[in-house]
Symmetry: C2
Subunit: 434 residues, 2 copies
């Protein structure tokens, strides 16, 4: 629903919010959790330009519990958004009091935007699914169910970290081409996945399906999501039960939840290519067709250790868009709950890797390197197949449309550290056992 | 570790704990959460005979937060167990004061034994894996990775309920044999799965693999687990990402965690059939081979609505044993963490369906009916392929060994209610959409 908070002419008395291209202008107002001291409790903040406004400290909320905000009904959320927007507008009579609740983002630590109780990762990027399917099943890239139901698996919620994250290269079982036995070792085919995560706001009731027309009422907003994947571990383990140890070592999300309200100007008609089957009724509605898609440009950037040392900026690997998704967010919710499965406040629903229709728009190295058969040329003179130690991957997202103020999702940044136990603790274990 | 709390001659002043065959004699002492009033906070109790002893109320603990108990190091857990055991023994000087903290189990409500943050379901029942594999892949019942790594998938934590549970038959997409299009409808192939769930005690550290010899230090104990499964939904959705909507509508666990200490007398040597590959070093150790298996007899019982009305007792469907598992609990933990994935207090690790080596020892109807091709004859004169509305499935587990006092896991009970929206809300949705 478009209202006065989306007016593209609005300017803030927080000057860093006003330049064109800023991720967090007055029209965005994403929610996150911050603290000034690593031992302090999290506070709820809204990003404005390069600052963060503490909502309770500003007198705009009575709690620092994100669950309160996630649980608000859409009208209450819109009312809060309006109050924040009015307070931050140029000329607001509340400027003096709100200024006291303002901190530079550079001076605070951002946490996970909420406690993520459950993580479901969908597979709605059809170009990704087709490209990966071509690598593994050349004769049948898309399985027969792909266009009928939003494929998904449960991910690991407890190992999702907030950007900027650092994690050790995972080790795991892998079986080389032609080998008869697997070995344990650090993954040599470590990859990123460029995804959007939908954050569940109001919980649904166990046993009660959510109809597609009410599905978005249960979504609070979106974050960027990097579902790091070890392709060698994945290839060996993934059948018959799906990915497990190849994914659950770490995932990273951006710290700011861009609300569904902020995304309102960037909605698009949602449809399918001619000739594709019509969705079953529980996955279809006029409202979903009228504006089920969300136009978010998604980018993946890489900066290697050598690039950092040489003072070279991160290099863009690819660009895609959430409109490349075969399934809308409302369809994901409707399918997830049709069997009675409840959604909880703070649950994360991943879109799956978003790749565009052309090879250079792929949202993972697996696709960009055709399964590791080619490498990418980097500005540092390096070549990259999969990720090396010291590599930093940065995901970005932005919404841009003529006539509206551009907003951004911030960044989702993660750095690969060397494997922890290569030849160390586990080698000792082996010695004890033998 | 065996100590005086396992002495089979011990008797309690709680008389209902003493008859042979009682699930909760003095040698067991499982932990659970109970309350007398549906609105009250949960209290931590230990089952003794037909009573529950409130630990804080008895002066044996200072908190009603199960996380405190889950986080205890094994020596502290053993000390607490000894204190409880001594207090409940016949002739204890503390009988009078402990008696005031005693309530009949029949008068309290049991909740989930802890907050389950993450649910991982393994597939360690090799007879089940082989039987199910034979149904779906006759030429290759066990995939090449089966004997190398403990296959697993992430389940849905938020829809796990405590016994006794009731849930509506799920609806979902399914595609009939020979059909070209799926339909949405209530599952007609609803099944149970007979599993043991390991409850994680002390958390592990993200990024740090847990060695197999320290793996059991992170386990608090076991519960019974029924991983309800809709086979028709599963068959249609399961490739390529594994089970999702066919499982996440509901799972049920027994309310009492039988501790690893209580299980000490029932440990067994753990090995593999001759000719099977040796486990990789991180999954192998002398200690794990010496006593990695746990001897728990597992049973599934069925009582239909007609049997209840006719006054007929539940009928046993099958019996198997946790020693049928191809992977030990320590191996599950070592594999789960080898990539750096952390385990959290209260996480649940399912064993996977435990079936014995013979067809009548199968732990699911899918196996017992050979994929639904046959039916079971019931005492009521009914025939059962898959579960019908009103069916109650009860899982039971017991540990029995000559020279030791038998202990039980209590029961895990769940009842199937009719599908909720068949022809109702969702039919209306379809009408709106068309």
């Amino acid at each position: 629903m478009i209202d006065d908070t989306h007016d593209p002419s609005l300017q803030s008395w927080v000057e860093s919010a006003n330049p064109a291209g800023a991720d967090f202008p007055l029209q965005n107002l994403p929610f996150g959790r911050f603290r000034q001291d690593g031992r302090a409790d999290w506070r709820i903040g809204v990003a404005i330009g390069e600052q963060v406004l503490g909502l309770r400290q500003a007198g705009l909320a009575h709690t620092d519990d994100m669950r309160h905000f996630l649980g608000l009904a859409p009208p209450a959320r819109r009312e809060l958004r309006r109050a924040i927007s009015h307070g931050l507008r140029r000329g607001s009579p509340r400027e003096a009091s709100l200024r006291q609740a303002l901190l530079p983002q550079a001076g605070v630590q951002m946490g996970l935007p909420c406690e993520i109780g459950n993580f479901t990762d969908f597979y709605s990027g059809i170009h990704h699914a087709r490209a990966v399917g071509t690598l593994f099943r050349p004769g049948e890239p898309l399985l027969p169910n792909y266009k009928w139901l939003p494929q998904a698996y449960h991910g690991r919620a407890s190992t999702i970290g907030a950007s900027p994250s650092r994690f050790h290269r995972p080790q795991g079982q892998q079986r080389g081409a032609g080998a008869t036995r697997p070995v344990l070792g650090p993954s040599t085919r470590l990859d990123y996945e460029l995804e959007v995560g939908f954050v569940v706001g109001r919980a649904s009731t166990q046993g009660e399906p959510v109809s597609i027309d009410h599905a978005e009422d249960h979504l609070f907003g979106v974050v960027l999501l990097n579902d790091w994947s070890a392709r060698d571990i994945q290839a060996w383990e993934a059948q018959p039960l799906g990915p497990f140890a190849s994914k659950n070592f770490a995932s990273t999300v951006s710290p700011w939840i861009v609300t569904m309200e902020a995304l309102a100007p960037f909605r698009r008609p949602f449809g399918r290519p001619a000739g594709d089957p019509e969705p079953l009724p529980y996955l279809d509605s006029p409202a979903n067709r009228a504006q089920g898609a969300i136009d978010i440009t998604l980018q993946a950037w890489l900066q290697t250790a050598a690039m950092r040392e040489a003072g070279l900026a991160a290099q863009r690997l690819s660009e895609s868009n959430l409109t490349d998704a075969y399934w809308s967010a409302a369809q994901l919710v409707a399918h997830h709950t049709v069997n009675g499965c409840s959604l909880c406040s703070g649950d994360l629903l991943g879109s799956g890797t978003m790749s565009g229709p052309t090879p250079e728009q792929a949202g993972s190295l697996l696709e960009l390197t055709q399964g590791g058969r080619t490498t990418l040329a980097l500005s540092s003179g390096e070549a990259r197949g999969f990720l090396q130690d010291g590599d930093t991957v940065v995901l970005r997202g932005l919404c841009s449309r003529p006539g509206w103020r551009q907003i951004g999702l911030g960044e989702c940044r993660g750095t690969v550290l060397p494997a922890r136990d290569a030849g160390g603790g586990l080698a000792q274990r082996g010695a004890v056992a033998s």
